[in-house]
């Protein structure tokens, strides 16, 4: 390979990547020893690779690792029962399979408050910065959600919006807004298209005005839910129940008559 016949950029790149056959790689290296242009190209490509590998990640984030672990925990919760392999006779196995098919055909009851509690625990670990309510409202409007999402203003009660996003809960689009108070405590508001009849029946119910509230405890998280027409709203946080209850009562409202 002479100076007049430079390797193509593809070949030089493949050389840096170790993707050439040994003979071809030796030829390129021999050429580069006598050609400063190609030697420079090889050095630049190697430097670019290093820059790309080391300079494009985000910083280490223990909160994100915790989020992944929480997701794996949930996955384990689902996966463990499937790992049980009893040595039953075939007839019993067939009966179990039939029962399983029947169960699969039934409507799936999702524990919405439990899902909201998981999200609240995850959100508490997220980094945050004050977010304008107008920006969130625009984001929600742009997402063309199948329900009328609103952004609760809890500022008067000392809770500022820390972040917000459109995500999914129980396979449905939902809005999720994280609030923080001055001491760093967190509270999550979740809204999605659902009915109060979908809530589990272990709620402590109470009424305020014309609205019925449903209070749940899921681990260390208090979840208060209420319906605004076809939108189900949740406030969830590791807070005293009376505090979550008071915030919900203050901000719940009946939907405008259609």
């Amino acid at each position: 390979m002479s100076d007049a016949l430079h390797p193509s950029p593809e070949v030089l790149g493949a050389c840096v990547d170790g993707a050439l056959a040994a003979r071809e790689s030796a030829e390129v290296e021999a050429h580069a020893r006598t050609c400063e242009t190609c030697a420079g190209e090889l050095r630049a490509l190697a430097a670019l690779k290093t820059q790309l590998r080391d300079g494009t990640g985000v910083g280490a984030d223990p909160a994100f690792d915790a989020r992944i672990r929480a997701a794996l925990d949930r996955e384990d919760g689902r996966a463990l029962p499937r790992r049980v392999r009893p040595r039953w006779p075939y007839a019993a196995l067939a009966a179990a399979a039939a029962a399983l098919l029947l169960w699969a055909a039934l409507p799936r009851a999702v524990d919405l408050p439990a899902e909201a509690a998981v999200l609240a625990r995850e959100a508490a670990a997220q980094p945050s910065a004050r977010t304008p309510a107008a920006a969130l409202e625009a984001r929600f409007a742009a997402a063309e959600l199948p329900f009328a999402a609103r952004v609760l203003d809890l500022g008067m009660m000392g809770w500022e919006i820390a972040s917000g996003e459109v995500s999914r809960l129980a396979e449905r689009p939902s809005t999720q807004i994280l609030y923080r108070d001055a001491t760093g405590r967190s509270l999550l508001c979740v809204m999605l298209e659902a009915r109060a009849s979908e809530l589990p029946d272990d709620a402590a119910r109470f009424d305020s005005g014309a609205i019925t509230f449903f209070e749940f405890t899921r681990g260390d998280v208090t979840v208060v839910a209420w319906a605004e027409g076809d939108v189900l709203c949740f406030l969830a946080g590791r807070l005293p129940a009376e505090e979550v209850r008071a915030l919900a009562v203050a901000k719940a409202m009946l939907p405008p008559p259609s």
Binding site: P9, K49, G55, T56, G57, E75
Partner: protein, 184 residues
Amino acid sequence: MAQRWTDHSARRVAFEQLALPHAASLRGAARRWCSHASVADDAVQETYLRAYRTFDAFEPGTNARAWLFTILYSVCANERERARLRRVTALDEIPEAMLADPSQPVKPEDSLAESEVGRELAALAEPFRSAVLLVDVGELSYEQAARAAGCATGTLRSRLARGRRALAEKLAHLTRVRARAAHE
């Protein structure tokens, strides 16, 4: 040879030790494939879940980073397609005035341009960006990257060379501009 796990706890520990160290790189790459940081983080979470479900098929000693990037690429491609179908408006289509609030601190999730090379990579056109991400960031071989991207190895090689050249030119231009500014 794939490993058969009989102890569930050991499987979980082994997965975390192998996969979690790559979280920062995966998040960085996902943010260049997805329109919004929260969507990107969701994609990385989904990547970990898929990897965990198929961990038994992973061959110990092979490149875990490449394995995870292959899954991430697929997840992000699906997400982009779903977003297109749902016509979900990306954040950058929301009027700028609604988002740019100079009185507010920049959220970490929005400070994506943490390095010049990262910013220029994000601005690179597809499919060149994916070729560079898969090979240079994800450390996939040409054959693995071509399989992930659904193209021939030669095509991948060509995209990679063009993507790198475009990146190098942009970075060189920025260096020249900075040097000129310093001189003035």
